[in-house]
């Protein structure tokens, strides 16, 4: 009996460790739960990208289910994602862009707004426009408050303006099916 435990114990420990490490092979280190989950979108006052006279606040999210998509013309993956977003739009989903520019340094501001608008118009002219409108995160403050690490990222926002899902990376049919579909249906039914 003693001999058996002495033989089995290292084996059990080894198998436990092997399972633990094996799981690690398939886990995504960039995946970690957003602390913002089920909390309202942080307050902001930001202009529309194409018409800076229009300003948006958190109130724009109240009363409808919104997919808030963080993007920029400089982002290669975003360009891949946009055609699929258009498909989602044609299925009746309300997609809002959160646009930020890489070249705008909040301390200096190298690029003019007109230049950014021109780039965006050109890009969306090529790829099509899935966005109902774009919020211009001029100094990337809202992105920071939302815990955005880069682009593309997408937030699912419910009718009360609360964040229900934060996805880092692009949305494609697989991601939509595995991650968004059930939550979206749930949020829509509320």
């Amino acid at each position: 009996m003693r001999k058996l435990t002495f033989f089995l114990l290292p084996l059990v420990l080894f198998i436990g460790l092997a399972i633990f490490l094996f799981q690690g092979l398939f886990s995504n280190p960039r995946e970690h739960e957003s602390p913002l989950l089920n909390k309202p979108v942080p307050s902001f006052v930001l202009p529309d990208l194409m018409d800076t006279d229009i300003t948006y606040t958190t109130e724009v999210f109240v009363g409808k289910v919104t997919l808030l998509n963080v993007w920029g013309v400089w982002c290669v993956t975003c360009a891949v994602e946009i055609p699929y977003l258009e498909q989602l739009k044609s299925e009746g989903k309300h997609i809002v862009g959160l646009y930020y520019d890489q070249d705008i340094d909040p301390d200096f501001g190298i690029k003019t707004v007109a230049r950014v608008q021109q780039e965006v118009a050109q890009k969306l002219g090529q790829l099509g426009n899935p966005y109902a409108y774009n919020i211009f995160d001029v100094k990337r403050d809202l992105s920071l408050d939302l815990g955005v690490t880069g682009a593309p990222e997408t937030f699912l926002i419910d009718k009360q303006g609360k964040v229900r899902l934060h996805h880092i990376g692009d949305i494609n049919p697989r991601v939509w099916q595995n991650k968004f579909e059930s939550v979206y249906a749930e949020v829509l039914a509320e």
Binding site: P35, L144, G147, G150
Partner: protein, 149 residues
């Protein structure tokens, strides 16, 4: 000769200040604030490029976080307040020191348990050695001793 070397030296000085100007420069009111800034940027992790702190990383998000840390330090916020500010947005992940909770407590407990387990094992195997001796053998030895008397 000395004149020339002074001239060259001052030229070199000029060069070095120029090289410095191209990097981010932050001005602080007090040395304590400056120290806090450098400490925090070393302890906060870049959420984009993992396994780099925000002082080390060139990612845009790291630059944005450095600027935010600078802003908060200048507002006179404490170390804990700034760490909380970042954790609220980027989760526990953003700070290199993990919090102690039900899942992470094993990081500290497991090694301790492992060592304790080993000590118990060693102690027990030592104690059991005299027990192995046979009672019959002992009695035989005792008898021999008796006979010798």
């Amino acid at each position: 000769m000395i004149r020339y070397s002074v001239f060259i030296f001052s030229l070199l000085l000029l060069l070095s200040t120029q090289a410095h100007a191209s990097e981010e420069t932050y001005q602080f009111d007090t040395d304590a604030q400056s120290a806090l800034f450098f400490e925090l940027t070393k302890e906060l992790r870049c959420p984009m490029c993992q396994n780099q702190n925000i002082a080390d990383s060139d990612a845009m998000i790291a630059a944005d976080l450095r600027r935010k840390v600078y802003q908060l330090v200048n507002e006179g916020q404490s170390r804990e307040q700034i760490i909380d500010y970042m954790k609220q947005r980027y989760g526990d992940f953003v700070y290199y020191q993990p919090p102690v909770n039900a899942t992470t407590v094993w990081l500290w407990l497991l090694p301790v348990l492992f060592v304790l387990f080993g000590i118990v094992l060693v102690v027990r195997s030592r104690q059991q050695k005299p027990m192995i001796q046979d009672k019959a053998k002992l009695e035989a030895a005792e008898k021999l001793l008796e006979e010798d008397k």
